[in-house]
Symmetry: C2
Subunit: 189 residues, 2 copies
């Protein structure tokens, strides 16, 4: 997605350890109009598959997921990282965060996902694929079907994309980064 | 907002201790089309004031804030409850959660808020006003101006609305709940 790549080059910040900082338009401050364009692109890329629910993880996945929900007129579920007081009927998985080097739980109420659901997962980043694999397990625990995964940015050098595709998951990433080095971002052609 | 009140009556669940469960369309599963209608209503209610940034707190505030950002073509900032690895230039406040009966930190990067900004705060719930007062302090710490606060649901019996208005804050709540008792929700007329 050209618009997104241009924006990453203009406003993203490549840190030395393979970290790409996009908190000016995705992760902390959000460009809502860009999110709408991102959602339209997800809609186009997944136009050949059928899904009735969109799933994401709080917090940075919510903006693109809700915009896609708006474009598709579909409900959006966001998996939580803490158990709220009013949440029941909960299923959960443990996910390892390489960025923070610790495990965290991701929770979902079974009230909103069941065997009749075809689920598209949307998130901001695909790195090692750890969160995505956790979500795959969570969707299976709910008895629902995972039909695809869409990411705003994929860091290809961290291999998550290959891991997910090997498991037969349809993956679409709007900006695929081959390499981050010397403060520069190199996209896949 | 009639559409929202109808939805709360249809799909909300009034728990015994003044808690309103709306996780089927706001807090866990999100009705994206409803969020768009909510954003249009916020746009209308705040049509007489000028703002250039929308601020919210992760996670449930993100959906309505991003939709308003889309309607107004304005950037949205979400304050965080944890410090991400890539966040710098941080300011923070401590907020007491009455629901969870504990304190938590809310963080913001000063990179995205400064003395030139006029900020509209958007969140899902107004209860005791604790989070909203924390946000007021955070905006002032950044040197920016808080021009208003919009909430999807206000629980009037928990008094947050009065507290904010006493401090001179312009408050707009789309559904104002007078009372929750015996499993019933009573709206303000």
């Amino acid at each position: 997605m050209h618009l997104l790549e241009e924006r990453i080059l203009a406003d993203g910040c490549a840190l030395s350890d393979g970290v790409l900082k996009v908190d000016g338009f995705i992760n902390h401050q959000i460009d809502a109009d860009l999110m709408y364009e991102i959602a339209k692109e997800f809609k186009k890329r997944f136009a050949d598959i059928t899904y009735n629910k969109i799933l994401t993880i709080e917090a940075s996945g919510i903006a693109p997921a809700v915009m896609l929900g708006y474009c598709m007129h579909l409900p959006v579920i966001f998996a939580k990282k803490q158990t709220p007081k009013t949440m029941d009927n909960v299923i959960s998985v443990k996910i390892h965060s390489f960025t923070k080097n610790k495990d965290y739980d991701v929770l979902l109420s079974k009230s909103f996902l069941n065997k009749n659901d075809k689920v598209l997962f949307i998130d901001d980043f695909l790195a090692y694929g750890s969160a995505a694999l956790g979500i795959k397990n969570l969707v299976e625990m709910a008895g629902a079907e995972l039909v695809g995964m869409g990411f705003i940015i994929e860091k290809k050098f961290q291999n998550g994309g290959s891991i997910l595709k090997e498991k037969g998951i349809r993956v679409e990433s709007l900006a695929v980064i081959e390499e981050i080095s010397a403060g520069k971002v190199k996209f896949s052609k």
